[in-house]
C-alpha cells in the first residue's frame, strides 16, 4: 500500500507493507535512526514520536495509521539549526548517559512543556512515567526539564 505523511515538515510518500510498524518505517525506510526500538510492548518508550503533535509509541503504531498525518521525530526537534531548550537542558543537566532513551524522553518532555510551561517535579515525573531510562535514575531528567522551563520563560521575557 502507499502512504503519504509529513515527517519533520517534509512530505514523504512510500510504498509499504500494511503491517509495517511506524518505528521501522521511520528507521529503516526513511533512515531517521534517532527514534529507537526497545521493547515491542509499549513499556519502554524509547520509540516515542509525535503523531499530530501528540506523543505516541511508534512500536505500536502502524505506519499506515500515520497516512495523512503529521509525524515529528527527534531529528525535527531543533528548529533552523537552533537546539530546542529541551535538548539544551538534557545536555546542561546530564539528563542522558547512553542516550538510547533520550530521543523518546525529549519528545515527551517537549510535549509536556508545550501544554504546561512550568511543570512541578511531580508533573514531570508523571509525564515520563511511561518511559524507562536505565542510566540516569530520572533526577537529572527532571532537572533537565526544569532547566528548559526556566530558560524558555526567561527567553520569553527577554523578547
Amino acid at each position: 500500500m502507499q502512504v503519504t505523511m509529513i515527517v519533520n515538515d517534509v512530505e514523504v510518500t512510500r510504498e509499504i507493507e500494511g503491517r509495517l510498524l511506524l518505528v521501522h518505517f521511520l528507521r529503516d525506510t526513511l533512515s531517521l535512526t534517532g527514534t529507537h526500538w526497545g521493547c515491542d510492548t509499549s513499556n519502554c518508550g524509547t520509540c516515542v514520536v509525535w503523531l499530530d503533535g501528540e506523543p505516541v509509541k511508534s512500536c505500536t503504531v502502524l505506519a499506515a495509521m500515520a497516512d495523512g498525518h503529521e509525524v515529528r521525530t527527534v531529528e525535527g526537534l531543533a528548529k533552523g539549526g537552533e537546539l530546542d531548550p529541551i535538548q539544551e537542558g538534557f545536555m546542561q543537566c546530564h539528563g542522558l548517559q547512553c542516550g538510547f532513551c533520550t530521543p523518546g524522553m525529549m519528545m515527551t518532555c517537549r510535549a509536556l512543556l508545550d501544554k504546561n510551561p512550568d511543570p512541578t517535579d511531580a508533573e514531570i515525573r508523571e509525564a515520563i512515567s511511561g518511559q524507562i531510562c536505565r542510566c540516569t535514575g530520572y533526577s537529572t531528567i527532571v532537572r533537565s526539564v526544569r532547566w528548559a522551563s526556566v530558560h524558555e520563560a526567561a527567553a520569553a521575557v527577554n523578547q
Binding site: T73, E126, R134
Partner: protein, 797 residues
C-alpha cells in the same frame, strides 16, 4: 531534597576550555545523542544488507529429533537457513564461554534452556526473516527439566550436560575461600551467633538497547568487519579469531554507540556468531538485532545465589567472624564473564568493611535448565551478592543484639591506620576512611531525627523503616598475573598523539556504554598535559583504531584504562620537557611544569607552551640529541592491585499497612571513589545504580515455572523502575585516593548498584519490625511484603 556539594542545576562552571582537567564538564558525546545522531548498532545500514532472525527453543529441556527447513528456504525473500547441523559441519556448533565452558551456538543434540538458539534465517528484511522462522519444523522429544536449583544435585535429577564427556551429574564447580577451621573455632567461642538464609534472585540487566551485530565478511580480502554491542571489542576480536579460525588481523570489531551495557554486553552470544556465519554464507552484510524477549530470556542474567549467612559476635557488638554457604545457579552453560581464576568472581569480599578475626565461604555451583550467564548487571564480579549478604547479616545481628545498625557498623569498621588491610579471605584493601563517610550520610539523612520520627509513627501504627548499608568494593581487574579472561591478561593499552598544532587524540581499549569516556578521558589527559579537554579527541570502540585491552566492565575503565591515560600523558610530557629544554636552552632540571607550559625556574617570562612544543616536535628545527620527531606515546597498564571504593547508603521507606506497598521516600548515598574526575558524571553513575537497586530490591526478578518457562520475558512481566518508583536522590562524597593509582581514582560505575539493595531491604525489614520480621527476600513486591507481615514469607526461588 537537596543535593550536597554538587552544583545547582543553573550554575554551569564548565572547564572544557581550560588547561585543567578535573571538575564538572559537559559531555562531549551529548551533542550527537540529543540530536538523534548517535550511531547505535541497529542504525548501521549497508548496501545489500540482509537481516537475520533466530529460531529459539520453546522448551527448557528437549532432544532435537529433526529439523526441517525446506518450507522456510522456499519462503519469499529468504537467502539462507542455517541449523546446528550446518554449523557442526563447519566445526562451529559449539563455542567456548568466557569461563572455559562450552556453549552451543545452535543446538545440535538437545536444547537446554527456553530460548536457546536452534536455527537462523537470513532474509531480505526483518519481517521476512521472522516469517520464515515459523516455517521451520522442529520435532522435539521433551525431557524433564531441572528448574529448582536445590534439586539440581539430587541423584535422580535429569542430566543436563551430557555433551561433556564423563559428566554424570549437574555439578558445575566447587569453590571455597578463607579458613574453615579457624572460623569454626571463632564461632564456637562467640557470645552470639546469628544465621539467616538469604536469596539473591535472578535478575537481568535489560539495557535499553538489546544486543545485536552487523557482520560484513569480504570473501576476496578475507576480512570481517563486525559492528556489535560489545563492552569488550578487543577480547571479542581475539575470541572470534580463536573460535572461527579467522586471522586476527583480518577481523575488525567496532562497538559503535552502545545503549547501556551493565555487563549484559560482555559475553559473546550465539547471535553474534550467527551474524558472522550468515555473512560468510550469503556473501552479504547481515544484521542481527534481538528483540526484548530474546534479550530477557537468553542473554546474560545476574545473581541467582542462594546463601546461608552466619555471623559471630561478642555480646557488646564486636563482630568476630562471618561464614557463608552458597548454592549458585549458573544455568545451562557456565557463561560467567569473570577472571577465570575467580569462578565466583570477587565474592570473596563478603567480609565487607569490618575488621574480622575469621571468615569462610563454601560455594557449590550447579547447572540448571535456565539461560546461561551469571555475572552482569553492574555487579563488580559478584560483589553485589557479597555486599548484600554481609550488610543483611549485620542488620540481623543488630536486631539480635538490639543495637542500632549504624552504631554496630561504626564499632566494627576497619580503621584508617589499618590500610592497606588484608582481609581474612586475602583481599588487600588499598585505602579507606569509613567513619567520615558514614557520619556524612547520617548527617544528610538527619539520622537521629529520622529515628525519632519512626518511633512516633510506630506508636501510631504507621510503618516507616530506615535502612543502612556500608560497602567496600573491589574494582579495576587485574593485575594480569592473577586475572585473565581465557588467557588474556586484564590490562589495558592507551595511545596518545599530539598533533603539530597542539590538538591531541587519545586511543583507548575500553568502551563507553554511557559512562562518558569521551569526556572523562579527555579530562584525565588534559590534567596531565595541559591541553584543554575540548582539544582532545577520544577514540574508542574500534579494534583497528585502538590498542589492545580487556574492555569496560567491573568498574574497570577508570582504575585501569584511566591510569593508562594518565601515564601515557606523563610519558608524552616527559618527551615534551626534553624538547622544551632545547627550545629554552636550559637543562631539563631547570624547567618547571605549569599546567600547559614549561617555564625556566625563577624566570616565568621564559616559557614554551605544550602547543609550541608540539609544533617544534613536528617541525624543521633541531631536536635534542637522541630525541625522535613527533609527540606521541603508547603504554599498556597493568594494575598492581584492585582499587577499593566505599560508600554509606541510607534509605527511608514507608510501607502501606493496608496494601503492603513499599515507597522509597528518601535515599542518601555518600560515595568515596577516590579522586573525582567529573563530579557531574560521578553523580549520574550513582543515580543510575541507585535506581537499579530499587529495581532489584522491590521489582525485578527473572523466575521460571516448573516446566522452565521464563516468567520475566517482557517488560510487562520484568518490572523496571520508572520515574514514579524512585525518589529524588541525595548524594554526598568523601575522597580517599587510591595510593597505587597514578591519579588516585578508584572507579564508581557499579558502587550504587552494589550498595543500594541491602539499604532498601534493611529499611523494609526495619519497617516491618512490629511484625517480628527479621528477613524477607527480594523482590519486596506488595504480595511478598504482605506475606512477610503475616509470618509466611518464603524464598522467591
Amino acid at each position: 531534597m537537596t543535593t550536597v556539594q554538587e552544583p545547582k542545576t543553573d550554575t554551569f562552571d564548565d572547564n572544557d576550555q581550560k588547561p585543567v582537567g578535573y571538575g564538572r564538564m559537559l559531555r562531549k558525546e551529548d551533542p550527537r545523542l540529543i540530536r538523534g545522531r548517535g550511531r547505535f548498532t541497529d542504525d548501521v545500514q549497508l548496501p545489500g544488507m540482509l537481516h537475520l532472525a533466530i529460531l529459539r527453543s520453546p522448551f527448557a529441556h528437549a532432544k532435537i529429533v529433526s529439523v526441517d527447513t525446506s518450507a522456510a528456504e522456499a519462503a519469499p525473500g529468504v537467502k539462507a537457513v542455517v541449523t546446528g547441523e550446518t554449523l557442526a559441519g563447519l566445526g562451529l556448533a559449539w563455542m567456548p564461554t568466557l569461563s572455559n565452558d562450552v556453549q552451543a551456538v545452535l543446538a545440535t543434540d538437545k536444547v537446554r534452556f527456553q530460548g536457546q538458539e536452534v536455527a537462523f534465517v537470513v532474509a531480505e528484511d526483518r519481517y521476512a526473516a521472522r516469517d520464515a522462522l515459523e516455517l521451520i519444523d522442529v520435532e522435539y522429544d521433551v525431557l524433564d527439566p531441572v528448574i529448582d536449583v536445590r534439586q539440581a544435585l539430587a541423584p535422580d535429577a535429569p542430566l543436563i550436560r551430557d555433551d561433556l564427556e564423563g559428566k554424570t551429574n549437574n555439578h558445575c564447580f566447587d569453590w571455597e575461600t578463607g579458613d574453615a577451621d579457624e572460623t569454626e573455632a571463632v564461632f564456637a567461642r562467640a557470645d552470639v551467633v546469628v544465621q539467616q538464609d538469604i536469596v539473591y534472585p535472578r535478575v537481568h540487566p535489560a539495557p535499553m538497547e538489546t544486543c545485536g551485530a552487523v557482520a560484513d565478511f569480504d570473501a576476496v580480502e578475507g576480512r570481517l568487519k563486525l559492528w556489535s554491542t560489545t563492552q569488550a571489542p578487543h577480547a571479542h576480536r581475539t575470541l572470534y579469531a580463536i573460535v572461527a579460525g579467522l586471522p586476527e588481523h583480518k577481523i575488525q570489531v567496532i562497538a559503535p554507540d552502545i545503549g547501556g551495557g551493565f555487563g549484559n554486553k560482555v559475553p559473546i552470544y550465539p547471535g553474534y556468531v550467527c551474524a558472522i556465519v550468515g555473512s560468510i554464507v550469503t556473501g552479504k552484510p547481515v544484521k542481527w538485532m534481538e528483540d526484548r524477549s530474546e534479550n530477557l530470556i537468553s542473554t546474560g542474567f545476574a545473581r541467582d545465589y542462594i546463601m546461608r549467612g552466619e555471623i559471630a559476635a561478642t555480646r557488646d557488638g564486636k563482630i568476630l567472624a562471618i561464614r557463608t554457604n552458597v548454592l549458585a545457579d549458573h544455568g545451562a552453560f557456565n557463561g560467567t564473564a569473570a577472571p577465570v581464576k575467580y569462578p565466583a568472581g570477587f565474592f570473596g569480599v563478603f567480609t565487607g568493611s569490618y575488621d574480622l578475626e575469621a571468615a569462610y565461604c563454601k560455594m557449590t555451583a550447579v547447572y540448571t535448565n535456565k539461560a546461561p550467564g551469571g555475572v552482569a548487571y553492574a555487579c563488580s564480579f559478584r560483589i553485589t551478592e557479597a555486599v548484600y549478604l554481609v550488610e543483611r547479616i549485620v542488620d540481623c545481628l543488630a536486631a539480635e543484639l538490639e543495637m542500632d545498625p549504624a552504631e554496630l557498623r561504626l564499632k566494627n569498621f576497619i580503621q584508617p591506620d589499618q590500610f592497606p588491610y588484608t582481609t581474612k579471605t586475602g583481599w588487600v584493601y588499598d585505602s579507606g576512611n569509613y567513619e567520615p563517610t558514614m557520619r556524612q550520610a547520617m548527617d544528610i539523612a538527619g539520622y537521629a531525627e529520622l529515628r525519632r520520627e519512626q518511633a512516633e509513627k510506630r506508636a501510631r501504627g504507621e510503618l516507616m523503616g530506615i535502612g543502612i548499608s556500608f560497602f567496600t568494593e573491589a574494582v579495576g581487574a587485574g593485575p594480569r598475573k592473577n586475572m585473565d579472561i581465557l588467557g588474556l591478561g586484564m590490562a589495558d593499552g592507551c595511545e596518545l598523539r599530539v598533533h603539530p598544532t597542539g590538538k591531541a587524540v587519545v586511543r583507548l581499549s575500553v568502551k563507553t556504554q554511557g559512562q562518558g569516556h569521551e569526556t572523562t578521558f579527555a579530562q584525565i589527559v588534559a590534567e596531565e598535559i595541559g591541553i584543554p579537554p575540548a582539544d582532545i579527541e577520544v577514540v574508542h570502540g574500534d579494534t583497528d583504531q585502538t590498542p589492545f585491552g580487556l574492555g569496560t566492565y567491573g568498574s574497570r575503565s577508570t582504575p585501569v584504562s584511566g591510569a593508562a591515560a594518565a601515564l601515557v600523558a606523563r610519558k608524552v610530557r616527559d618527551k615534551a620537557q626534553l624538547i622544551a629544554s632545547a627550545m629554552l636552552e636550559v637543562t631539563v632540571a631547570d624547567l618547571d611544569w605549569v599546567k600547559g607550559s614549561f617555564q625556566v625556574k625563577g624566570d616565568p617570562s621564559k616559557s614554551v607552551t605544550i602547543q609550541q612544543i608540539a609544533m617544534r616536535a613536528h617541525g624543521a628545527g633541531d631536536l635534542p640529541d637522541g630525541v625522535e620527531g613527533g609527540l606521541e606515546a603508547q603504554i599498556c597498564y597493568n594494575p598492581s592491585n584492585l582499587t577499593y571504593p566505599h560508600g554509606a547508603y541510607i534509605c527511608v521507606v514507608d510501607v502501606d499497612p493496608g496494601t503492603a506497598q513499599v515507597k522509597v521516600r528518601r535515599f542518601i548515598a555518600v560515595d568515596d571513589c577516590g579522586t573525582r574526575i567529573n563530579p557531574m558524571i560521578i553523580e549520574g553513575q550513582v543515580h543510575g545504580g541507585l535506581t537499579d537497586g530499587v529495581g532489584m530490591a522491590l521489582m525485578e526478578m527473572i523466575s521460571f515455572d516448573e516446566d522452565g518457562n521464563c516468567l520475566g520475558a517482557s517488560l510487562m512481566d520484568y518490572l523496571i523502575p520508572t520515574s514514579l518508583e524512585v525518589p529524588d536522590w541525595e548524594t554526598g562524597y568523601t575522597v580517599t585516593p587510591s595510593p597505587h593509582h597514578p591519579i588516585g581514582a578508584k572507579g564508581v560505575g557499579e558502587s550504587a548498584t552494589v550498595g543500594s539493595p541491602p539499604a532498601i531491604v534493611n529499611a523494609v525489614v526495619d519497617a516491618l519490625q512490629p511484625f517480628g520480621v527479621r528477613h524477607a527476600d527480594m523482590p519486596l513486591t506488595p504480595s511478598r511484603v504482605w506475606d512477610a507481615m503475616r509470618g509466611r514469607a518464603t524464598p522467591p526461588i
